[in-house]
């Protein structure tokens, strides 16, 4: 039986950049005991001799010819921006003060 504590879930939520209330953390922690039990079944048959599959198609390095094609105008690219300034996305502060 695998379980995740409230603090484990809080750490995952921090990594995933989702603010969560204490109630949400506790609920998820309870649900995960059941969900992890169910999904852990994959370990029953995943022997060392089995190759993993990451994708259904055996494709490698798909390129197109390097030619200029139509793309979005700056106005179109910015059309959904929550905030913009001088034809650029305006974002909150990314670096610290120091």
């Amino acid at each position: 039986m695998t379980s995740l504590s409230r603090d484990d879930v809080a750490n995952l939520a921090r990594l995933a950049r989702i603010e969560m209330s204490d109630e949400e953390l506790v609920n998820l922690s309870n649900e995960f005991t059941v969900i992890l039990d169910a999904v852990a079944r994959v370990q029953e048959v995943a022997g060392a001799d089995v190759q993993p599959t990451s994708h259904p198609l055996p494709l490698r390095n798909v390129f197109r010819p390097d030619v200029v094609v139509d793309s979005l105008t700056p106005e179109e690219a910015l059309s959904g921006a929550p905030a913009q300034e001088e034809s650029r996305f305006r974002v909150p502060q990314i670096l610290g003060e120091e």
Binding site: L15, A16, I18, E19, V39, V42, E76, A81, P82, V91
Partner: protein, 497 residues
């Protein structure tokens, strides 16, 4: 008129019996009358649809060569971008967003003159089996408004069953086209992975997502399939090969000598008795049509659900990182001095629903250092085993079949607090996505105990999509002659306005 098939509507448009503007208006009127009850649509594009229809009518009047479905209306799942038209994916985080570009599927629809009526409801970011996870409220099954229409593409399937549109687009990551088709008595096809471009399809699980046609008949699905499929340089996983001849197959329906493999593991315990009754009956009809029924075994399918609920959340935890409140969509907490990180945290808290958060956290865990091999790595190995099961079985048969879902439509709210019970809806549809092959669901009748639709699933090897249409057309024809009228003729009338 709105109860006709898309092929019949196209014939009437060609004969000049009706214009596309008139046909489009009939469907917009129907939506206005019944969609307050059904809630299949998140956005109805009255003006845009009529403008597109007028354009098609003008081209036809000018004697231009028209594609087979030109002028026929369609409902588009809200996971596909359409330039200038709101695209939410059923999520608050994209509320009000109008994409600046068309998805390739939409581009193909427009090039074929197919009129897009509006955007249909779905589980948020296609995560769910009931549309109850939509941030904009659930869609109701037209067979019984207290029941779910399936998911994630419940809006598309409900629109078809409610005669709000004769055609729809769905996307299928673990059954989101086929399961809604099954529980609404409609047809849904997940093409071979890579058969239809994913450009402009908002990504959930990139190695599993596949767009496909939804319709009320097998031929209509085939016509739509050919309209949207084909290689696209904008999708690096798009298959560069000719589109399978699905329309010819749907018109033929000849299954003489075909070997149909019944999957031993996708039947029996856990499947509702009426589902089994209709499934067995369909097998008898296919045998009578000249097919040979054989039993095949796929011992690793029982691990598919567990593997899916590791792979899909893992890929989604990465794909949904793009919703960072910086370039489009919702932004919360952007006050003076707030850091980008705190704005991201607050936006994603408010913008994502419960199921989406659950899967992002699960995926983050499955991919985290120390657990990667035990969870995501093991799930990838199961994926190999499932593909091997399919390969072995297809040595003994041309297509594989099973019930599409273990049960008929359940009540809204019945399973929303039990994620594991909800995930079990997809037990028979998920293996197809894991292997990247094609799957179809078509109506097999009503379960005697609850008078609700049952779906019959057909699975074909990669890029042999035409085989699903051969078998589907054969079964549809046999059932039609048995019933005397399409299954949807038995649907209760909607009161409407």
């Amino acid at each position: 008129m709105i109860r006709n098939s898309a092929a019949e509507m196209a014939a009437k448009l060609n004969a000049g019996d009706i214009t596309s503007v008139e046909l489009t208006q009939l469907h917009l009127d129907r939506i206005a009358a019944v969609d307050t009850d059904v809630h299949a649509f998140l956005y109805v594009n009255n003006e845009g649809a009529l403008a597109q229809a007028a354009e098609v009518d003008a081209k036809r009047a000018a004697g231009e060569k028209m594609s087979p479905l030109a002028g026929v209306p369609l409902a588009l799942k809200d996971v596909m971008t359409q330039k200038g038209v709101p695209t939410t994916c059923g999520s608050k985080i994209l509320e009000g967003w109008r994409p600046p570009y068309d998805s390739t599927v939409v581009k193909n629809l427009k090039n074929n003159g197919i009129v897009i009526l509006g955007k249909t409801n779905m589980d948020e970011f296609a995560m769910g089996s009931s549309t109850e996870n939509s941030a904009y409220g659930p869609t109701h099954n037209p067979w019984d408004l207290s029941r779910i229409p399936g998911g994630s593409g419940g809006g598309s399937s409900a629109a078809l069953a409610a005669f709000e549109a004769p055609l729809a687009i769905g996307t299928d990551t673990g059954g989101s086209i086929r399961q809604p088709a099954a529980v609404t008595g409609t047809v849904g096809v997940k093409p071979t992975y890579g058969g239809v471009s994913r450009f402009g399809l908002v990504a959930f699980s990139s190695s599993l997502d596949q767009a496909g046609p939804c319709a009320r008949t097998v031929l209509d699905a085939a016509l739509l399939h050919e309209a949207i499929a084909g290689h696209d340089p904008k999708d690096s996983t798009s298959i560069n090969a000719p589109v399978p001849q699905v329309v010819a197959a749907a018109k033929s329906g000849d299954v003489k000598g075909m070997k149909i493999g019944v999957v031993k593991e996708l039947n029996g315990d856990g499947y509702q008795s009426g589902v089994r009754t209709r499934f067995e009956e369909s097998l008898e009809l296919l045998a009578a049509a000249g097919a040979e029924i054989v039993e095949v075994s796929a011992p690793n399918f029982e691990y598919a659900l567990a593997a899916y609920y590791l792979i899909a959340p893992s890929e989604c935890s990465s794909n949904l990182a793009r919703f960072d409140a910086m370039r489009y969509g919702l932004r919360v907490g952007d006050v003076d001095g707030a850091s980008a990180e705190s704005v991201m945290n607050l936006t994603r808290e408010v913008g994502f629903g419960r199921e989406v958060k659950r899967r992002i956290i699960l995926g983050t865990y499955a991919l985290s250092s120390g657990y990667y091999d035990a969870y995501y790595g093991s799930a990838q190995k199961v994926r190999t085993l499932i593909t091997q099961d399919f390969n072995n079985a297809f040595e003994k048969c041309d297509v594989m079949v099973s019930p599409t879902c273990p049960t008929t439509a359940f009540k809204i709210g019945e399973k929303s607090n039990d994620p594991i019970a909800m995930y079990l809806n997809d037990i028979a549809t998920i293996p197809v996505n894991m292997a990247g092959i094609g799957g179809m669901s078509l109506p097999a009748g009503l379960a005697p105990e609850d008078s609700l639709p049952v779906g019959f699933q057909i699975m074909a090897p990669a890029m042999k999509d035409e085989r699903m249409y051969l078998v589907g057309a054969a079964l549809e024809a046999a059932l039609l002659s048995k019933w005397g009228a399409p299954l949807l003729s038995q649907i209760p009338a909607l009161a409407g306005k």
